[in-house]
């Protein structure tokens, strides 16, 4: 996308107050056409309020929302080119599956035979072609989810808002449904905005993620960017597991940063930081899967390492997770792929060497 082209959804300085409490505070956001965009946050972070403002169910206290270049800030929900798939689906219990899906078209005054055709097509798309005559109480969780999806897509909205779309499904079903959602999105080319508290769901579904905390965006970017280059401690901690240690900056310039970190065994030099660090107190973060664990001392002399004792050990089949207490008393979490069958040579109370590539370390100022 060209930079001077307008974004499909533009959110400009939007705030929503409930009394004195700001659920959303001066949020800015650009979402591109056809994007699968996730808003990720804990409960109470303001993500659902933001979604409701996009759908028109909530009117912002200040700020503007543009969709496809048109100001939608005060347009009522029934006039927006936006539909929402509710958490727990909110299917009309007194209507059949067919009537649920047809509802949006009926309200538009579409002719009966066209409704019939479109609804059957939609039922086929969500793989429930024979379900038209059923009532919502006769559907399983996964089926309800598909009907809700069909109902929210029938009016061919420009934007589909999904509120915790997979939260009500069990784990196995969630994974298959995730990929189906992506397939449908690709087939229809609708812009999807997903609100979720589940970081895994956000990571696998989205092109880009916005992490939200206390009504504000903390970081917006592609899943791998957010995971590998979190902007601050909150994002680093919220997405995935991470080890975090205190450190002090000894020397810093555009090329190198040298820090002192007691937990990681003393002085460390990092190459090519993003910028020079002026502050002294800093945090160093390290993802568990980026730590190598071995009973032998690393042979490469340039690599940093610490020694420790395995205090806890969890076997997950595909990987094992170790909690290692280092010689200076710190706990470091390590995850290791079980690449070779019947290979758990490392177990409780073993003495181990932990090592890492120096560019795996993440420096966090706040």
């Amino acid at each position: 996308m060209n930079d001077n082209e307008r974004a499909f959804i533009e959110i400009r300085g939007i705030s929503k107050y409930f009394g004195d409490f700001a659920a959303v505070y001066k949020a800015d956001l650009d979402i591109k056409k056809g994007e699968l965009f996730s808003i990720l946050g804990a409960s109470g972070s303001g993500k659902t309020t933001l979604l409701r403002m996009m759908s028109g169910l909530e009117v912002p206290t200040e700020g503007k929302i543009f969709i496809d270049g048109i100001d939608m800030t005060n347009v009522p929900p029934y006039k927006r080119p936006v539909n929402i798939m509710f958490q727990n689906y909110a299917l009309f219990p007194h209507m059949t599956v067919f009537d649920n899906i047809a509802y949006g078209l009926k309200k538009e005054g579409v002719a009966k035979d066209i409704i019939q055709e479109k609804v059957s097509k939609m039922l086929t798309l969500v793989k429930l072609p024979e379900y038209g005559k059923r009532k919502p109480n006769q559907l399983s969780g996964g089926e309800s989810q598909r009907v809700a999806l069909a109902r929210s897509l029938i009016k061919e909205p420009k934007v589909l808002l999904l509120d915790e779309p997979l939260a009500a499904l069990d784990k196995k079903l969630r994974q298959s449904t995730q990929f189906e959602l992506i397939d449908i999105q690709e087939e229809l080319g609708v812009t999807f905005v997903i609100v979720t508290h589940d970081q895994e769901e956000a990571m696998t579904l989205s092109d880009r993620i916005a992490v939200m905390e206390a009504g504000e965006f903390v970081q917006i970017g592609a899943p791998n960017l957010i995971y590998e280059h979190p902007k601050n401690k909150f994002v680093a901690d919220f997405i995935g597991n991470i080890n975090m240690f205190d450190a002090t900056v000894i020397d810093s310039n555009e090329q190198d940063v040298s820090i002192h970190c007691e937990a990681l065994g003393g002085d460390i030099v990092l190459h090519k930081p993003n910028h020079a660090y002026n502050i002294k107190e800093i945090s160093v973060a390290l993802r568990p899967e980026k730590v190598m664990i071995d009973k032998q001392q690393p042979t490469d002399e340039n690599i940093d390492f610490v020694t420790g004792i395995v205090e806890d050990f969890g076997y997950f089949g595909n990987l094992s997770i170790y909690r290692v207490r280092t010689n200076n008393g710190q706990i470091i979490q390590v995850s290791k792929q079980n690449r070779i069958r019947s290979e758990h040579t490392i177990t409780w109370a073993d003495e181990v060497f932990l090592s890492w590539e120096s560019d795996s370390l993440i420096l966090l100022e706040s």
Binding site: P77, Y78, F86, N88, A90, Y103, K107, Q138
Partner: protein
């Protein structure tokens, strides 16, 4: 072996418990509904006599000492022959029906308003609906006589603000009966409606609105159909007692306000014709119970066909 015996014993005890608990309401109904009903039924099949009690006994001893059962359908025939009763039933149904519909129209918005108001206000409003029950029903109907009479509060007020220049004839008319009925039974309409509307999932309304329904369409398509059970419950709770109501038509109605409750009272206490009065009561019960049984059956069939 002994374990099995204990198991059997346990399951037997469980069943006994369950049956006892289920039996209590049945016993209650048997004692306080079926038994009186049978007594009334028995009286309705007797002839009136001047005696104590004022009707012929069911078992009559003939001169040769053998006893026989005496029943007569004369009372029921009489009900059908004298058009007064038919007209009275009809007018009772009409009065009860119209007041139920009016109470529904008044009660629904009130129930809706209470269900949609914030929690603390909601409790105050509910209390206000129930508070009239703290005063005797009879007193409240008497109070309406004071309000509705020619020189009463309402006429005084209307004359004072100048809407009318002659007092309205309200007391002892059907209008007064309607006012009294709606006033007295409105809480019975509001409470079940409130209980229903309060449970309504707001997200269903939002979903309808999101799919293009305007406010009144949301109401018509979602709120109204989902509140049908509340409407049915409220209407039953009002219609059934209203149809046999005696106090309100007796105090507020005119001589020409025909209601079955009054006929019943007159037959019992003025004519001392217990058998005819009993027949009137039996027909009223059948009139009310048969349609309910019919609807229940149909509902059950619908439920069966759905699952």
């Amino acid at each position: 072996m002994s374990g099995l015996l204990i198991n059997l014993d346990n399951s037997f005890r469980d069943r006994l418990w369950k049956n006892t608990i289920v039996a209590i309401p049945y016993l209650w109904l048997l004692l306080f509904f079926l038994a009186p009903f049978l007594i009334v039924l028995k009286i309705s099949l007797a002839d009136p006599i001047v005696a104590q009690p004022p009707f012929t006994p069911l078992f009559q001893e003939s001169e040769n000492g053998s006893s026989s059962i005496f029943t007569t359908f004369d009372n029921y025939l009489y009900l059908f022959q004298d058009s007064l009763y038919f007209i009275t039933y009809l007018s009772s149904v009409k009065l009860a029906f119209i007041s139920t519909i009016l109470a529904l129209l008044i009660g629904y918005p009130i129930a809706y308003g209470i269900a949609r108001s914030p929690q603390p206000t909601r409790n105050v409003l509910l209390l206000m609906v129930v508070i009239p029950f703290w005063i005797s029903f009879l007193l409240r109907v008497y109070a309406w006589m004071g309000i509705l009479k020619t020189k009463g509060l309402l006429n005084g007020f209307l004359l004072w603000i100048g809407i009318i220049d002659q007092p309205l004839e309200l007391l002892y008319t059907d209008t007064a009966v309607y006012i009294g009925m709606i006033y007295s039974y409105l809480p019975f309409m509001i409470l079940p409606l409130y209980a229903n509307l309060e449970k309504l999932d707001v997200r269903l309304l939002e979903a309808a609105s999101d799919l293009g329904a305007k406010r009144w369409e949301v109401f018509k398509d979602v709120t109204l159909p989902l509140s049908v059970p509340g409407i049915v419950a409220g209407c039953c709770l009002m219609f059934i007692p209203a149809i046999g109501e005696y106090v309100i038509p007796a105090l507020l109605g005119g001589a020409d306000t025909l209601m079955i409750g009054r006929v019943l009272f007159d037959e019992f206490f003025l004519n001392r014709d217990w058998p005819v009065a009993s027949a009137v009561a039996i027909v009223l019960v059948l009139l009310l119970v048969l349609p309910i049984v019919y609807f229940q059956k149909r509902q059950n069939q619908e439920l069966l066909s759905e699952s």
